[in-house]
């Protein structure tokens, strides 16, 4: 089994809902999808949701506001899965709820371990 990062992209989605404890409020469809991956023992880490606050710094100390200065899609979060192959990982991604939102996409990348 190899590990793959699932990188979720979409249009900026506006306000992020939090639970009273300050955690991300997960919708039923995301929870079911993630639970289904976990039930196959293919979830390494649910990963994280990225917030809306952002800056980008470029050579020459050029700082731009927000993660979405020029692009329509931003990275909204990422998770780590375990799969036999990139094709297997792709199958898992095909039912991701991210694909139901405007300009939603999932990028699947293999992970190279850094040891030492």
């Amino acid at each position: 089994m190899k590990e793959f990062a699932m990188i979720y992209r979409s249009e900026p989605m506006g306000e992020i809902k939090l639970t009273p404890e300050g955690n991300l409020e997960i919708s039923k469809e995301w929870e079911n999808w993630m639970g289904g991956i976990a039930a196959q023992n293919k979830l390494v880490s649910p990963g994280m949701r990225l917030g809306n606050e952002g800056r980008t710094v470029k050579p020459g100390n050029i700082v731009t506001n927000g993660p979405y200065a020029e692009v329509k899609e931003i990275v909204g979060g990422l998770s780590i899965f375990r799969a036999e192959s990139i094709e297997d990982a792709l199958e898992l991604a095909k039912s991701c709820p991210m694909l139901n939102v405007p300009d939603g996409s999932v990028e699947i990348r293999d992970i190279i371990q850094m040891n030492g």
């Binding site: 929870e31 976990a38 039930a39 196959q40």
Partner: protein
């Protein structure tokens, strides 16, 4: 109580108390000596009480005799000078006076400390359970052999090896420090949960023995909640979980000792008092900033005890299984999640999810598919149940599976 009943009763309640105190006084390397000493005390009681009558305070009699036997042994035996004395861990120990403290407080403390010593990950789980039953629950070797459906020799060997290992690794009889407790208590909870499950799910037909195992596991878990150091939210959550499961004791077995599945149980036989107790523990467990897997499982077990809103119940259970699996994978949680999914979204959707689980060597996986297919494709349902029957090793499970197959067979021929 007559002498005939009194001695077995006292054996069950007092053996473990005296043994724990003696183990703590003599050190981990002398568990067997402690057991023998207490065993001899009970033999002497049987002889003496038969001739002279039952003493006024039988438990106190046992304590005094065991204490004296231990002192004699310590004084006389060369063991004392050579082996025990340098390692005596007893704080109040004085060179001239060996104190064996059988006060309520010290009995309680010693049992808790022994619990941590026995639930030592260096020895295999079944040996941890066996030793727990022997030292913490006063089970005889015969009773332990019965519980594990094996013979005395196997258990003796298993316990002997475990005691040797504890000695070799010089495991301390003490409570872990404040910053170690969370990690160490996980081992203890795992063993207590296994002990409970040994009773709840075991293939043993002896219903009394099975219930006994569950009650002992609950008693030990409850003991952890009574001590400030060990009273952690995860402990209370496990206790809540055990209460919810135990509430179905009477409903899940019929008069012939055969298992009745959750769906087919007579709800009026569920024990309301245990359910309420479970709710109280679950509320108490809702503190701290960390949710153990016992919290998830207790919450799932709680929803199983509700009966007023089936739709909401299964949605909650599915959601909790999702969260449990995201925290920690286990095949049984994966299967149960899929069953809950079928209750919320229907069998066809659940079949798609079930077939992704790839648990072909698990008989419960085939039972689940048999269940899900039974409303969709009877032939396939039967095929899966036959496969489950082939790989299941537990007689009670085999019976349940056979019943299902014959029911489906009749449907098919209609």
């Amino acid at each position: 109580m007559q002498e005939k009943e009194l001695i077995p009763y006292l054996y069950r309640t007092e053996f473990r108390k005296i043994t724990a105190v003696l183990c703590r006084s003599l050190g981990i390397e002398h568990i067997s000596i402690a057991e023998d000493l207490v065993g001899d005390t009970f033999l002497l009681a049987a002889e003496t009480w038969g001739l002279k009558g039952i003493p006024q305070n039988p438990a106190a009699w046992l304590y005094t005799v065991a204490k004296n036997k231990a002192k004699d042994l310590l004084k006389r035996n060369t063991l004392f000078s050579q082996k025990i004395s340098p390692q005596i861990q007893y704080a109040t120990y004085d060179k001239n006076e060996i104190e064996i403290d059988l006060s309520v407080q010290n009995i309680q403390d010693s049992q808790l400390q022994m619990m941590f010593a026995i639930c030592y990950p260096g020895i295999p789980p079944e040996a941890q359970i066996g030793l727990s039953l022997r030292i913490l629950c006063s089970f005889s070797i015969d009773e332990i052999a019965d519980a594990f459906l094996t013979n005395k020799e196997t258990i003796n060997k298993r316990l002997y090896r475990a005691k040797e290992k504890l000695k070799q690794d010089n495991v301390k009889i003490e409570l872990p420090s404040e910053n170690e407790i969370d990690k160490r208590i996980e081992n203890v909870l795992t063993t207590l949960y296994l002990l409970f499950n040994e009773g709840y799910y075991s293939s043993n037909n002896n219903a009394v023995l099975r219930k006994d195992l569950c009650l002992e596991a609950m008693r030990l878990t409850h003991m952890l909640t009574e001590n400030e150091t060990t009273n952690k939210p995860a402990v209370t959550a496990l206790l809540a979980l055990m209460c919810f499961h135990a509430s179905r004791f009477e409903a899940r077995v019929d008069s012939d000792g055969e298992l009745i599945l959750y769906e087919d149980q007579d709800i009026s036989l569920w024990n309301r008092e245990l359910i309420l107790q479970g709710e109280r523990y679950l509320n108490k467990a809702s503190t701290g900033d960390y949710l153990s897997k016992y919290h998830w499982e207790a919450a799932i077990a709680y929803w199983h005890t509700t009966t007023n809103n089936e739709k909401q119940k299964w949605e909650k259970i599915l959601s909790l299984y999702n969260q449990l699996l995201i925290t920690e994978y286990s095949p049984i949680a994966a299967l149960n999640r899929t069953y809950a999914l079928s209750k919320v979204y229907g069998n066809e959707e659940a079949i798609v999810e079930a077939e992704k689980l790839k648990l072909d060597n698990n008989h419960l996986y085939h039972c689940l598919l048999g269940e899900l297919y039974s409303e969709v494709d009877i032939q396939k349902a039967i095929e899966h149940l036959l496969q489950a029957l082939k790989i299941s090793r537990v007689a009670a499970d085999k019976k349940v599976i056979k019943n299902k197959i014959s029911k489906l067979g009749k449907l098919k021929n209609v």
